[in-house]
């Protein structure tokens, strides 16, 4: 349970706004350090990670600063086996003591996707029940979430801010790596000799669920392999036109 849920409600807009302004001046590590503190002006926050191709960077930063931080992994039930192995390896290697996996509850799964074929019939709905609803549940005790989203990932994410109010989940949302470039990610990776996702070198720069992720060719967007051949670009965890950027 969070220790400071009282502060979770974004009631004190002024304090939060002042905090945001102050935070925004900080570099990534100092910014993240404030967020991971037990008491923040926002309330207690959780890191949410896909344990995908670039996740090691944020997780390493978190582990270095506060290894006990809550780190949530959403298990959709359709991940590549390599992702699950990589998750376990990273958690162990980085010493992430607060890591937790959460998945769809059994009754929702039977109700909405008993046959496990929803991803073929209606991928949006599949993401909604296996990711968005599950994240809602995971974030219930928290005032906000910390993600690894980056602006360079897609045209849609080019405007990504470091601090947002996320009205899908009614929580704060922090993207400490928003302005990191691909080169910076890569050099951080190399510098700290972080383990690679086994699929990263096999043409998967962005890794989602197995049935809906394909290889990316040269010159394509990082996320081009996600829901290939469909108009769908995002799973819905992040997609929200009403996200209000309070800082950039």
């Amino acid at each position: 349970m969070p220790l400071n849920t009282v502060a979770a409600a974004p009631a004190d807009v002024l304090a939060v706004s002042a905090a945001s302004d102050a935070l925004d001046l900080l570099d990534t590590e100092a910014f993240l350090d404030r967020l991971l503190a037990q008491r923040t002006p926002f309330g207690e926050l959780a890191v949410v990670s896909s344990f995908g191709a670039e996740s090691a960077v944020l997780l390493h930063l978190v582990a270095t600063l506060r290894p006990e931080s809550r780190v949530v992994f959403l298990d959709t039930g359709f991940h590549f086996p390599e992702t699950l192995v990589y998750r376990d390896e990273l958690i162990k290697r980085l010493g992430l003591r607060g890591a937790k996996t959460i998945g769809i509850d059994p009754l929702s799964e039977k109700r909405y996707d008993d046959a496990g074929t929803l991803h073929q019939i209606d991928p949006d709905r599949c993401c909604a029940v296996r990711k968005v609803q599950v994240l809602k549940r995971a974030l219930k005790p928290y005032a906000g979430w910390i993600t690894g989203q980056k602006q360079f990932h897609s045209a849609d994410r080019a405007q990504l801010a470091r601090i947002e109010w996320d009205d899908i989940y009614n929580v704060w949302k922090f993207n400490p790596l928003a302005d990191w470039t691909a080169a910076r990610i890569e050099s951080y990776h190399a510098q700290h000799q972080l383990p690679r996702h086994p699929l990263a070198s096999k043409g998967y720069p962005s890794i989602g669920c197995e049935p809906c992720t394909s290889r990316v060719g040269r010159g394509e967007d990082v996320r081009a392999g996600r829901w290939r051949g469909q108009a769908k670009l995002e799973c819905g965890l992040h997609r929200n036109p009403n996200v209000i950027a309070v800082s950039s």
């Binding site: 959460i102 509850d105 059994p106 009754l107 039977k110 109700r111 496990g116 549940r137």
Partner: protein, 550 residues
């Protein structure tokens, strides 16, 4: 829930009084067993290996808390403290004294229950989906139609002496949970525009000549349903064989006449059957529907459920195995397993029955169901109440989380009780459920069905693994069938080779299951799917591997 009308009540009371007199005459010696037998069979009383057995009808498997408590009282007062729920949604009491049976029937009558037409060559209890009224996939609740058919068939003057017993099942879901294709008549409710219509399957049945029912009529209207049943039964009643009880079921008639000729005969009989009904005959159906009004389900938060799911692994695995979603969001249907490892499948003690009655009363609109797989269902439980229900079930040894797994097996009473049995089934069931307890989650969904004789009350023909116990020169011998299934794609299992002794049977099953684990493409591939993909041959070879070498 349907309650007896004054007419029903008088009828049942009168039957109890009649039977009391018959029992008194039997006990005084005025009636011989030969004379008494047809009379007791009219009231569900059998004479088995060691004792009388009373089979009580639970129409379409629906019970109220009040009725369940009466069953508990009977078990305690007049039996040995337990009852046995059967594959036809009935309950059997195995040890009643003859002198007590009229009192038992009188006790049943106080809660709108009876044992009429649970035996004899009549139309038996109409069975249905144990999730009826709660299932996500049903077009409508099939139970009002089942009750309508029950009223039509009870004491039907023309159909009290059919060539042989006659079983009807009715199902309304996209998945058939009532094994309708293994019944003399199987009815499937379908949506036809605005209306409900019926597909009628005829001539299914297991027993010594297993046959999958054939669809004879499609889209029969509600008005035409009873005339169709009447016509089918009248053709059978006249043309069915009465010279040989093993050739007397409707499935044999269908085979002898041919499906087309049988259908033509039914169509010929239809006009006169239809003439016997008037528009007023639909009125009882409408009255019955009023008794089946769906409870109003107040909206409840699912938070208490989610919290336990995330923190209590035992609760989570119980939900995964034993709980199904309900047509009303935030509600669920709970299947209470009567298959605790090492216990007799389908048995419940009086204490367990009362516990179930209490839980249903407190959390589940006082409703309970008996499933044809010999479990009890609490059809309407708010997800928020699942943690409390689970706690209560744990306290009464009713929380075994094994629905659909190896130990959720069906077994007939077999040689432990039944006068017809040629081998024991319950001890085999107990042994298998204990033997595979630790591996059953790895093995995944698997239906094992055991019959202790050729009459196949344990439905072995439609099990993934069917076990048939026979007597071979005074020694029990178990034969296997593989790859059977119920449902709308019902299929009879393939017979394997020579049978096994009990000890060799478990070793053969070990090899069979190891082979499945080795051959399956992934843990997601069930045993049934493996058999479908590979055929039964690789599994047959595994069964006999060692025996052949020896």
């Amino acid at each position: 829930m349907y309650r007896y009308s004054a007419f029903d009540e008088d009828f049942v009371r009168e039957r109890v009084a009649q039977f009391r007199d018959q029992v008194a005459r039997r006990l005084s010696g005025a009636l011989t067993e030969e004379e008494f037998k047809p009379l007791r069979l009219m009231n569900g009383l059998y004479l088995q290996l060691h004792a009388y057995m009373l089979r009580v009808a639970i129409p379409y498997g629906t019970l109220s808390s009040r009725q369940m408590r009466v069953l508990a009282d009977i078990a305690e007062r007049w039996d040995r403290g337990y009852g046995h729920f059967t594959t036809r949604q009935n309950i059997q009491f195995n040890w009643p004294l003859l002198v007590d049976t009229p009192d038992i029937l009188a006790a049943l009558a106080t809660a709108d229950m009876h044992a009429i037409q649970t035996s004899g060559n009549t139309i038996r209890n109409v069975t249905t989906d144990h999730f009826a009224g709660a299932a996500l996939d049903e077009v409508t609740d099939p139970r009002p139609y089942a009750e309508w058919i029950r009223q039509w068939s009870t004491d039907h003057p023309e159909f009290q002496f059919l060539p042989r017993k006659f079983k009807i099942a009715i199902s309304a879901g996209s998945i058939d949970r009532a094994v309708i294709k293994a019944h003399d008549i199987g009815l499937r409710l379908v949506q036809s525009g605005e209306e409900i219509a019926f597909d009628i399957y005829v001539g299914g049945g297991l027993g010594r000549t297993p046959v999958v029912g054939k669809r004879l009529f499609r889209g029969v209207t509600t008005e035409a349903l009873l005339p169709h049943l009447e016509a089918i039964l009248s053709v059978y009643n006249l043309a069915g064989r009465r010279d040989n009880k093993y050739k007397a079921r409707i499935k044999i008639l269908l085979q002898a006449m041919g499906v087309e000729a049988f259908k033509a005969a039914v169509e010929e009989a239809l006009p006169s059957a239809t003439a016997g009904f008037t528009a007023g005959d639909l009125r009882p159906l409408h009255d019955i529907m009023d008794h089946f009004v769906v409870p109003t389900f107040p909206e409840r938060s699912i938070e208490p459920y989610l919290e336990q799911i995330d923190t209590v692994p035992a609760f989570r695995s119980w939900v995964e195995r034993n709980v199904n979603p309900h047509k009303q969001e935030c509600y669920a249907s709970v299947t209470v397993s009567l298959k605790a490892h090492g216990k007799t499948p389908g048995d419940a003690s009086a204490e367990q029955m009362r516990c179930l009655a209490d839980i249903a009363e407190q959390y589940g609109f006082s409703e309970l169901r008996v499933s044809h797989e010999q479990n009890i269902v609490l059809p309407h439980i708010a997800q928020a109440d699942l943690p409390a229900v689970y706690q209560r079930l744990c306290a009464t040894q009713l929380a075994t989380a094994n629905i659909g797994l190896v130990s959720d097996l069906i077994a007939c009473p077999g040689m432990d009780y039944c006068a017809l049995a040629t081998a024991r089934s319950i001890p085999i069931a107990q042994r298998l459920s204990l033997r595979y307890r630790a591996r059953e989650r790895t093995l995944g969904p698997m239906k094992i069905k055991i019959s202790g004789c050729i009459n196949a009350c344990g439905h072995h023909h439609i099990g993934d693994i069917g076990i048939l116990g026979l007597d071979k020169a005074g020694v029990e011998n178990y034969q296997l069938t593989l790859g059977g299934r119920g449902g709308l794609a019902a299929k009879l299992g393939d017979k394997m080779g020579p049978g096994f002794s009990e000890d060799d049977l478990v070793l053969a099953l070990d090899r069979l299951l190891d082979t499945y684990l080795a051959l399956r493409l992934s843990p997601a591939e069930t045993f049934a799917t493996s058999v479908e993909r590979l055929g039964t041959e690789p599994f047959r070879i595994a069964l006999y591997e060692v025996s052949d070498a020896a």
